[in-house]
């Protein structure tokens, strides 16, 4: 029916398990959370609804229940280099990327959607963003990105891929559309951009040129103190 993969099997156990894994082992500093309640809030954002009518705001209760502060100077934004970000962020110890927050940790690499007039999850197929933008997963990440950006402070780092065809700073993109507009200027001291090429990959983009220049210009115009470095060591 839809073109995308269906809901991940055993979604409930995975979500609840990840929630407890995070608060007990990954980052116990966030304190006590009610993981069953969190699952309910997550589910209620999208079940029993048309899977093309889910909005970021539908996840508001989920975000409220999973929210925790992000330490200053630890935010790491990225585009097109997820694996690099994971090893660089070092499980939240060096940096705390979105996937290192409780709300990001819960949703990472999972897929889900519901159906209208039924409380069940659709395990057969889910709409892709091409089929409709307001789908459960897209809206989740939009909401998560917004919150992550709103609560970032201090020195912000952005890791971009200088070897990708889509451009180091993709537009449209999560960073461009949901994160930059939600950065709190009065809480941010500096934005540090790193453009990293794949090893033996093409050097398509660099600081001061093409899409990276567009990004630098945009951020400077917004009043941020911006620096950019190529191929960070």
């Amino acid at each position: 029916k839809w073109k995308g993969e269906g809901t991940t099997q055993n979604l409930e156990s995975i979500v609840i398990g990840r929630c407890y894994d995070y608060i007990r082992i990954v980052n116990p500093a966030v304190g006590e959370k009610n993981c069953s309640q969190i699952w309910e809030a997550f589910k209620n954002a999208f079940i029993n609804k048309d899977p093309c009518s889910i909005l970021p705001g539908d996840y508001e209760l989920f975000i409220n229940l999973t929210f925790h502060t992000i330490p200053p100077n630890k935010s790491l934004f990225w585009e097109n280099n997820q694996l690099l970000v994971n090893s660089f962020a070092d499980r939240g110890r060096r940096y705390m990327s979105l996937a290192d927050t409780l709300f990001g940790f819960i949703g990472d690499f999972l897929n889900w959607c519901g159906q209208a007039d039924s409380p069940g999850l659709d395990y057969e197929s889910c709409p892709t963003t091409m089929e409709c933008e307001n789908n459960a997963v897209e809206s989740f990440w939009r909401m998560a990105s917004i919150i992550y950006a709103q609560h970032s402070s201090g020195v912000i780092h952005v890791l971009l891929n200088g070897s990708t065809d889509g451009g180091a700073y993709p537009q449209p993109g999560f960073f461009a559309d949901y994160e930059i507009p939600n950065l709190q200027k009065d809480k941010i001291s500096q934005i540090v951009i790193w453009v990293v090429d794949d090893i033996e990959g093409p050097d398509i983009e660099s600081c001061g040129a093409h899409s990276v220049k567009t990004l630098e210009t945009r951020l400077t115009a917004l009043g941020y103190d911006v620096t950019c470095t190529d191929n960070d060591k």
Partner: protein, 305 residues
């Protein structure tokens, strides 16, 4: 008429008596309940044994189940036939209600059978005193698998558990440290899982050792030195590659020519394995350099044309 009035009064008196009895019973019940509850609150599990290490991880069941499903669903769909509920039950049965100093390998046999899966050749990566670094490496390079990247190790990593003969059978307050008793649930588990992991290895195997520890990179008392080395199968494993990693800017206590490495090499050669040892294996060193980019060891070639 007098008879009727008499029986009405009797009925009234009976009702009154019954009412009083019910009230008294409720009062007694309330007192008993209150004392039981306060008693329970002040003396949580009074009969449970007390140990020196941290207790069972809270929400153990949810974490284990979640990790199991996460592993087989989101990460390794080829293991889709694994039954996570059964796996959890077999883990629980291994230690619940048992004295945590009396755990045997037999206790874990059902779990080992349910959760084990084949490991592709040339991918097994053993390690000793390099836990942080080795797992950062396998996270960024899926060509290698440590025990903690297999289903069993993935579920149990960084978690603790132990039982107790008194209810509820799981001790969340404390668990035995290895020096309190060796046959504790955690130690027996990891020893057995490591043995199975070594037995399953084939082709070329790798081991990441720490050349900056004073006590020596290879120690016979470690799980690698006492269990894994001796359970590699010479009919399946052809070569052992040693990666001897020193901390960037850290003490260079040992290198491939060091004493404990020579000892390891002779143990392995005696078992007919071919050995190659490499100091500061570059791909892993590059990962260390992420945190020390300015150190001389981390400089890339600066000759540019």
């Amino acid at each position: 008429m007098p008879l009727q009035q008499g029986s009405a009064r009797m009925r009234q008196r009976t009702v009154l008596l019954v009412g009083i009895v019910v009230l008294l019973a409720a009062l007694v019940l309330a007192v008993v309940l209150a004392s039981l509850l306060t008693h329970g609150r002040h003396e949580v599990s009074p009969k449970m044994l007390k140990w020196k290490d941290r207790g069972t991880t809270k929400n153990l069941q949810e974490v284990i189940l979640g990790r199991c499903y996460n592993y087989i669903t989101a990460q390794h769909p080829e293991l889709g036939d694994k039954d996570c509920l059964k796996i959890w039950e077999s883990l629980k049965d291994a230690f619940i209600y048992k004295n945590p100093c009396n755990i045997t390998p037999e206790d874990y046999q059902p779990l080992m059978e349910l959760a084990s899966h084949p490991i592709p050749c040339n991918k097994s990566l053993f390690w000793s005193k390099t836990g942080d670094l080795v797992h950062r490496y396998t996270k960024s390079n899926q060509n290698f698998l440590t025990l903690e990247d297999t289903l069993l190790g993935y579920m149990a990593d960084r978690i603790s558990w132990c039982g107790d003969p008194s209810a509820p059978g799981i001790n969340y307050e404390s668990c035995p440290k290895r020096n309190e008793c060796e046959s504790n649930p955690g130690s027996v588990f990891w020893k057995m899982a490591s043995k199975k992991f070594a037995e399953a290895a084939c082709g070329v195997v790798q081991v990441m050792l720490n050349g900056s520890v004073e006590a020596g990179a290879f120690r016979s008392s470690s799980i690698f030195g006492s269990v894994e080395v001796f359970n590699l199968d010479p009919d399946k494993v052809s070569e052992v590659h040693i990666w001897l990693m020193q901390d960037i800017g850290g003490p260079q206590s040992e290198s491939c020519s060091g004493h404990s490495i020579q000892r390891l090499i002779s143990i392995l050669e005696e078992r007919n394995f071919k050995i190659i040892c490499e100091d500061n294996y570059r791909p892993v060193q590059l990962l260390q350099c992420v945190h020390n980019p300015d150190h001389t060891d981390c400089r890339l070639c600066t000759n540019s044309t």
